[in-house]
Every structure is written in C-alpha cells, then in structure tokens.
Symmetry: D2
Subunit: 330 residues, 4 copies
Amino acid sequence: MIRVGLLGAGRIGQIHGRNVAASGKARLVAVADALPDACLSLATDLGARAASVEAVILDRDIDAVLICTPTDTHADLIEAAVKAGKAVFCEKPVDLSSDRIKACLAVVAKAGLPLMIGFNRRFDPNFAEARRRIAAGGIGAVELVSIISRDPSPPAASYVARSGGLFRDMMIHDLDMARFLLGEEPVEVHAVGSCLVDPGIGAAGDVDTAAVLLKTASGRIAQITNSRRASYGYDQRFEVHGSLGMVRAQNVPTSTVEVATGQGFLADPVLPFFLERYAAAYRAELDHFLSSVAAGTPPSPSGEDGLKAQLLADAATHSQQTGQPVRLTL
Amino acid sequence: MIRVGLLGAGRIGQIHGRNVAASGKARLVAVADALPDACLSLATDLGARAASVEAVILDRDIDAVLICTPTDTHADLIEAAVKAGKAVFCEKPVDLSSDRIKACLAVVAKAGLPLMIGFNRRFDPNFAEARRRIAAGGIGAVELVSIISRDPSPPAASYVARSGGLFRDMMIHDLDMARFLLGEEPVEVHAVGSCLVDPGIGAAGDVDTAAVLLKTASGRIAQITNSRRASYGYDQRFEVHGSLGMVRAQNVPTSTVEVATGQGFLADPVLPFFLERYAAAYRAELDHFLSSVAAGTPPSPSGEDGLKAQLLADAATHSQQTGQPVRLTL
Amino acid sequence: MIRVGLLGAGRIGQIHGRNVAASGKARLVAVADALPDACLSLATDLGARAASVEAVILDRDIDAVLICTPTDTHADLIEAAVKAGKAVFCEKPVDLSSDRIKACLAVVAKAGLPLMIGFNRRFDPNFAEARRRIAAGGIGAVELVSIISRDPSPPAASYVARSGGLFRDMMIHDLDMARFLLGEEPVEVHAVGSCLVDPGIGAAGDVDTAAVLLKTASGRIAQITNSRRASYGYDQRFEVHGSLGMVRAQNVPTSTVEVATGQGFLADPVLPFFLERYAAAYRAELDHFLSSVAAGTPPSPSGEDGLKAQLLADAATHSQQTGQPVRLTL
Amino acid sequence: MIRVGLLGAGRIGQIHGRNVAASGKARLVAVADALPDACLSLATDLGARAASVEAVILDRDIDAVLICTPTDTHADLIEAAVKAGKAVFCEKPVDLSSDRIKACLAVVAKAGLPLMIGFNRRFDPNFAEARRRIAAGGIGAVELVSIISRDPSPPAASYVARSGGLFRDMMIHDLDMARFLLGEEPVEVHAVGSCLVDPGIGAAGDVDTAAVLLKTASGRIAQITNSRRASYGYDQRFEVHGSLGMVRAQNVPTSTVEVATGQGFLADPVLPFFLERYAAAYRAELDHFLSSVAAGTPPSPSGEDGLKAQLLADAATHSQQTGQPVRLTL
C-alpha cells in the first residue's frame, strides 16, 4: 500500500482524497491545509491525520504527495516534495510562469522522482477510448482535431484577475488535449478572443470567448473554441478527422430520458460541470498515478507535458493580445 | 411508354397521378372521378383527359389502371379492369370482406393479369433498406419484430364508422409489414384494444389504441402497437431482432436542427403525416408497378398479400372483440 | 448509523455489502453465507465479522438485514428476521409460490416491520427520471407502455430449470416496471413465448423469447418483450405514451465515442449487463431502504409489490402455457 | 409565367433547368451550351429549344436567365444579360477577381435589374430553419459560429489549378454561411492550410485541408474547417452559440436505419454529395429567385453578397499564404 499525503483540502483535494481512500491501492495518511477546520474535517472523514504541509512533506512514512493547493504554491511544494523523496502528483498548472516551471522541472529531474500533472481529461473514459481508437489506426493518419470546451458559467472576476487569463486557466486543458490527439507538436498558434459574456472579465483584462488554431510541422491542424458560458451544461467534446475517417467523443447527458411533444424531442442537458463529468476521469487519473508509483514507471502526463501546455497557453495569450500568430518549438 | 388510366382524383389519386407524370416510364392518359370538377382539374393539371370510369376501363389504348376510388368500389373495378385486359394497381384494401377479396382474386387469376396492392410502406426507403439488411443476413435469423405506428390525430367518427375498424383500416399496414419482416406466416393473433383518444370512436364501436401479438409456426414473434394520437408527428418505426443482432428503421425528423438551452436539447418533431413521410415510398411503389408491367414480371405486394393482411386484420378484430387469441393458416 | 447484517455473499450480496459500506448512512456489522470462504473474504474486505445466518438474525445490535441468499430461502429468512425485530430488504422474488409469499407477508404484517423488495430498476436514474416526468404530467394521462428487456446471453440450462421460468425469473422485473409506469393495475395478461435462442432452455421446459400484453381496467395497455439474447449489450429501455406526448428512457452506451467511416457511424454497444447498467440503481435502492429505516417510513417497493409482480408472472406463465389470456384482480 | 433561358447545360445547369420545368412558376424557353449535343439533349428533355448564348440573351421573350457556364464567363454574361433587360441568377462566383466583380456589379446597378448569386446552402431546409431559430431569438445574441464542410473526395488536380484555390472555390460557401449566421461583418481573417489529402493539389499550389478564424467588430467569432476528404459522406454542418443557448444543423443521413451487433450501433453514412444533400436547397433557391422576379423584389443573396464572400476568400487566401491575419472592411 502506497502511503499518501494530501496537500490542500479544497474542492479538488477532497476529490483526490476520497479517491485515494477508495482506490484499494493506497492509504491516505495525512491531510494538510491552510484552513485548519477544512483540514481536520476532511482528515477525520477519511481516517487520516491532520498535519502541517511541512510535516506531510517531511514524513518518512509517506511515499507520495498530492498537491492540490493554490497555483502559486505548486512549484515550491513540488520542489520540496521531491527533495524529500516523494513521488508527486500536482494539479495543473505547475506555475503561471514558464520559466518558473522550467526551474522546477530541473529540480525534479535532479531528484529523479516521478512527477505527474493533473490533466484529468486525458483519463475521461470517452476521451481515452477515442484516443485508443485513433492509436489503433481506426481513422488513419490524423489530419484535423476540433475541440469544444465551454464552462457552464463565468468565474468570479476576482478569480479571473489572478488566473493568468483564459488561455492559461481554461484552454490549457484543451491545448494539452490537442497535443494528446494530434500526435505531433504544434509549431504555430493563432488566437482570437473577445469579451462577450461578462464585462467584468473584460475589465479584468481577460477574454471569455476564444478560438485558437494550431498547426504542426507536417501540417496537421487543431482548432479549439472556449467560452465561459453554456446554458445546456458543461460542454466537453472533440472530433478528430483522419485519412480514413473520423472519431468523436460526445458529451455525457444527465440522463437518457427524452420527452416528445408537439414542440419536438427534448433530451436532457449534459452533465453540469467538471465534478460530474470528470468523476470517473479523476478516479482513473489517480489510479494511473498510484499504479505508476507502485510499478516504478514514469506517470503520464509528465512535468514536461505541463510545461508544453503552458508554453502553448503563453503563445495563445500573446497571439490574442497582439493579433499576430506565434511560432514556437516545443 | 405505358399508358395509364387513373380512377379516383382524391388525395391519394393525385399523388399517384403526379408520380406517373414525373416517372419518365409512363404517360397518364385519362383520369376518372365521380366528382367532375376534381376530375377535370387534375386531368388538366397533368395533361390527361377527363373521362368516365367505364371509358377508362374500356379504352384499348390504356395499359394499366390505378384504382384510388373509395374502398367499396375496389373489387368491382379490379374485376372490370382485368377483364378489359389492364394491369391493375389498387390501393389497399381490395375489400373489407375477405370472401369478396377471394372472389375478386379468382377473377384476377383467371384473367392472368398483374394486380399490385398499395402497401406503400414496403417502399419507404428506410424500411426497404432495413429489410435488405435482414435479407442480407446482417442480423441472422429473425426472432422478434416490433412495429410502432401512430397517427398524429384521430379521423372523423363518420370515417371510423365505415372504415372496418382500426385493425382493418390502420393496422392492416402494420400486419403487412409484420409479414414482410417476419419471413414466415403468423399462425396466432392476440389483440387488445381500447378507446382512450376519442370517445366518438368508442361510440362508433371501434378502438383507437391497440396492441397485437403475432406468432409464427416456428415461434417467431411480432408485436404491433397502434394509436390514433401522436403529438410529435406521424410515428412510424420498427425494430427487428435476430440471432446476430438488431436492425431498426427510425422516424424521419422534420429537420436536423437542434436547439440547446437550459431545458436540454430540443430536436424537431418527425414528419407530420403520410403525405410527407411516404412521398418517396409512393414514388418507389409506382416505379415498381410500372417496371413490373414493362418487364412482364409479377408486381409485389400481390393480391394474395392483400388477402393475407386482411385475414390477419379480421383475426385481430375478432381477438380484440372476444378477448381470445385466434389461430389461423394463411 | 443503522447496523446492517448481510445474508448472502454472492454477486448481489457483494454489491449491497459494498454499498452499505460506502453509504455513510449505515455500518455493515456482519456477513453470513453458506460458503465459509466467500463469507470470510467479503466480511474481511468490508470490515465486518463473518457469522452464521442465525447469529446475524438474532444479533440484537443489528437493525436491518439484507437477504441475498438463494430464492428458496427468502420467505423463511424474511419471517425469521421480522420475528427478530429487523427491518428487511430482500432480493426478488420473495418466493416462486404466490401462496408462500402471501403467508410470508402475513407474518411481516403481524410483526409490523418494514420489508422492501429489490426491484432495482425502479431506482435506475434514467427510469426514475422518466417516471418523475410522467408523474409531473409531462405526457398527460398514460395510454400505452412499451418495455424492452433483453439479456446479453442465456443463463445455464441448470439455472433455468430451477428459476421458475422466464416470466418469474426475468420478466418479473418488467412486470413490476409496467405496474410502476401504468399507474393502474393490469386486469388481463396475454403471453406468448418461444424457444429460439438455446434449445437447452426449451428442453428444460422454458422459453427464451417472450412477449406479453397487459391491459388495465380503464383500457391502458402495456407490452413487454423479453429475450435471453442481445449481441449489442444489456438492452433495457421503455417508452410511455400519454395523451400529450411520449417519454422514453433509452439505453446507456459504453462510451459516447463514435467512429465514422465509409461504412457509416459506429457508436458503442450499450452497457454489457446488470452490474454495469444498474450500479447506480443499486446504490439508490439501498439508500432508499436505509433512509426509510432511519425515518421510520415504509420503503417501496413493498412486499405487496413483490406479490403483485409474482401474480402477474404466474398469469403470464399460465397464459403462455395454455395459449389463453388470463384475467386477474391484484 | 416567367420565361427563363438557361446558359450552361452541365451538371448544375441540368439541376436548375429541371427545377424551372417543375416549378409551376416559370417556363424554360431556351437552353444554350458550348457543347451542342449536351445543349440539344437537355433542351429536348425539358421541352425547350436549343439556342446560342447570344440568342438567349437577346431574346425579347425571355425574362430571366440562369448562368451556369464556366466561372470565367460569368461576369461577361451577367453584364450582357442585364444590358438586355434580363433578371439574372448566376452560380457563384461572379469572378475569381474581386475587381472584376466590382466592375460587373456597377453595370448591374446601372441597369437596375435583379442579380442573385447561387449560394445554395442558405436554402438548405435545415440551415434555413436553424437561421430562423436564431433570428427568432432562440439563442439570444450570437457569439460563436462553427462551420464544418468536407467534400467526400478531392477534385482532379486539373480542376484545382484553375479553381482559384480552396478558399475561393470551396470555402467561399462557408464564408457566405458565416456572414449569414454571424449577423455582423467579419473584420479579421486568420487562415491556415495544408496539403494532407492529395499531393497533386499541393503540386498545383493549393491546400486541401484548411481552417479559418473570423472575428467581427463587436467580437463575434466564426471558425470554419474544410477538407477535400470525408469517408462517411458529404459533411455539412454548423453550430451557432449565443447568449442563451446553441442551435445546430446536423448532417442528413442516407437512411434512418441502424444495425446493432457486438461491434455497436452502425448508422448510415450521410448523403454522399451536393446533388443529394442540396436537392431541396436548389429547388428553394430557384423558387426564391422566381418569386422575387415575379414580385419585383430584390432577390437574396445579392451580387454584393457574392462580392463580400469573394473578398473574404481573398483575405483567407492571403492569410494562408503569408501566415499573417488580414484585416478588412466589407
């Protein structure tokens, strides 16, 4: 049994904490959080002890830590944890600064310990199955990837202000997904963005509606659209076109119920947000991390994947702000 | 070019008349109808002459007649037409009395001329394609057929009174379809029926909601449901289960438009009624009749098919009225 | 916390046992099973003690028992448990004999303790949501219910021999669902059945393909089809037609992935069998039982529901065997 | 009855010619084509006379001409026709040169005669219905338009060489559709393109796979993808997101048949190419032209619409070739 320490008892920390407890592969030993009540409550709930961040990192009986704290603490905690000999799972992003990420990855490399970044969508059963079909050759060589990702409603403007902007905060998931599906690194990024949903987001200097085009060296194309608004649920889909056909992974409806009347056939909205849509993905993601730690194999997506998605998000941000495409080499 | 005479210039006569004109395989020569204005109007419209029923039947320049007159004239007109040497297409049913149908078919057999009965649904492109898949072995041996057929709204009670009842008037199409799909004749009929839609139908001695079970000698089962009400359009579907899988033919929507809001995903109703849903079927049906006449091959469905569907409708009517299943040999 | 004892550590017992452990509303105290190894293994796994059936039933610290043993023990164990003051959840059926069920329910009534029967499908999120829509008036008055239920593959002939036959073993779930959806008791049952899937089932005196028509006093109609074979997964669907429209609950696909090639659009099979399809239903079912016990309210479906479904299954069996419809009053 | 002359008896000329003949609103008087046999054959077929282009244009008994000749003759013929007092319907594009289009439109404006450009997709019943829903406010203010358009297979390289390139030849339809749906003119165009399907297309200096981003002054975004390859049929879809929801118009399947086996649920490919998919659109398009001519109201899309789509195609071509976005004012 892998002994796990959890840093951060917020929404996402609770998900991972419960998944550790239910995994059958690991035991949650300790929980740390800046808010003592939240920490104690979750720890008690899951049969772990409440502890300080430092205590968790330094605890010799803990094999792996899950970093679910605010973004600006990620890089420091990763470094401290690998220096203390822990395997690390860290929520995306490692940092809002690519330079800081590079420095952190150097420390990780030196420590020689596994680091996995929480791009949970790779583990969505539908998305993972679609990629298996592509990898199995079902659609031939990939030519065009189209990703749609829409949040049900905009975040608070206060959150937006320290989020790094839509491309780093939201689209980074889709940029990682584009890399996951393209099978080749993008070399060019065109981005456009607008503030159409919430003027407060524009006032904070950000956009809430955006589209990106990526192109790889061999000419494969990916397009991504993001919006902070979707009345019909959390819209998470993609389709991939190849030389032999197309594979798509569609949304998951709230139920399979349909009502037919004179107005037509009304099917249910899609699952409302990430807690519902990605519940299975979070379980599979953690399972992969724990299995990798147990087997001594490198988990994926890696710190390098985290860096590359961040560099794409930086490029998209720059492109949107300057109105010019950005060329880059990952 | 086959020279065609049309008997009956009502709704269904107009459909067939126009399809003859547009077929490129035949020329509509004459139209007859008890209502002189309707007759003249359609004849003028289609470049044919208005004539009496007798004149059409006796016209030596006419090769084939389409009988689209009221049901109680069908058998007499079929007999007169084959005696006059015409190939005959007749709308279902030949007659409401099975005995009268048998007598009529004897006359047809003696004349040795082709008779085709208008079970248009066999020619619906979706239904025909589904049957081709079954015939091609795509689902193995047929085990279970399920047919749903619902009219958008009930007919006038006055129509119901002389219709022969729901099983002979409406379900006869589905009974023919069951034969078309089962690949084996039914030997047993269980029917239940209720008046749930329009009390006037009940007052006329009929039902408006019904279900039937058919069983063949080898044990294949078909079930059919009918209703005189469907708020979302003309509901016409079936599914067929076999030893290797299932094939189904679904409804045709009014459009492929979908609107997604907080209520969910609203797709359009299905095509409203038979004129829209079976427009292509009527064309294909007539094309088959004309091609058969041109080639000198027997058209299908035949007069025998008309009789067998009628016998099943009689059995269903009897079963519904007595509450007992009916065994029969077709 | 309700203290729960589990009788039966087989496939379904394991499901309920794990759901108790994960419910947060109850504690699994003891597990009993005729096979000591299975018993010990599950008990250890779930932090409960292994015990004899008698010990569980007589344990004063146990509030409720879950009966997941073979069918022929259900009635005796229900009686023993309620006599010992326990709330009881019992898998369907109470017994294969309706008389034995009646006797058992009399004992339960005398004891005044809650008895819930495991018609898990009522708790399927899709089915439950469909029924809420009906109850909310979304389709007006119910007129016609159509239920499709197909197992992926036939059971062993040895199982069939002591199963009570398809109507009591398999269709009983659909008969309960018909009652759940019709909103009125059936008064008439027509059944037909065939052996088309596995000759061994026929040799054991049973059918593997069947269809039933039910009619209520006011004329509402339900039709059910069952088959022991479905190549594309566990087929579990229904649709309900009312005066204003139709509601249907469709199957749950294995994933939302679709692959398009020259052959067409290939979507995934539906969930393979009941463990997958009804995982959420089993959780909701147990939650309802535990909540009812905690609140002191009668759980549903009740022992009476179990009896009525059994009487319908008896009637369907009789109808299939005699070829005659059966009238009954529930 | 409007008297119509048809210039061009090729594939698209035949469609329009037959639609005139079947319209009930106009009479096809004369057909002209550089190939005498094709001309005579179509004219005979439709009961019109074969004539020279000049004779058709100068015929005082002809009210309107349909220009279906090769692209490089369009502008000259439009000018000649309006000078001769004809209403003109012309297939897209007016010319491959925007300057030539402008000059042509000046001649049309001076003549004061109606000119309609054949952007047939606006008349597709699904697309038209989707736009009606948007216009009716069903999704609130438009924010994002996403258009997918894929041909089933690449054209001959010889065709490509004189086509003006993918953006002017193929995407021009989608650029017009984007204008139709955005409700606001684009001011910025980003395009990327690749040759992934047919190296011969690359050798001819063109791309076969492309994506474009458009942005309007108020920040609305449209994205379009094109490919010269789609194994599953002619892929023609869009979705439009607004402040209140989303409307989409999906493909039209070849049939509604579905086959379920162990591999899953196989639905039919979509309609194979434009003749099938846009048959109804061509009829509605011509009907609009004829109705406008009869009523004396300006038809739409106009020559200006043709010019604007061409300017967008020019901008996309430039953007793709230079790797830079293009700003423009329509």
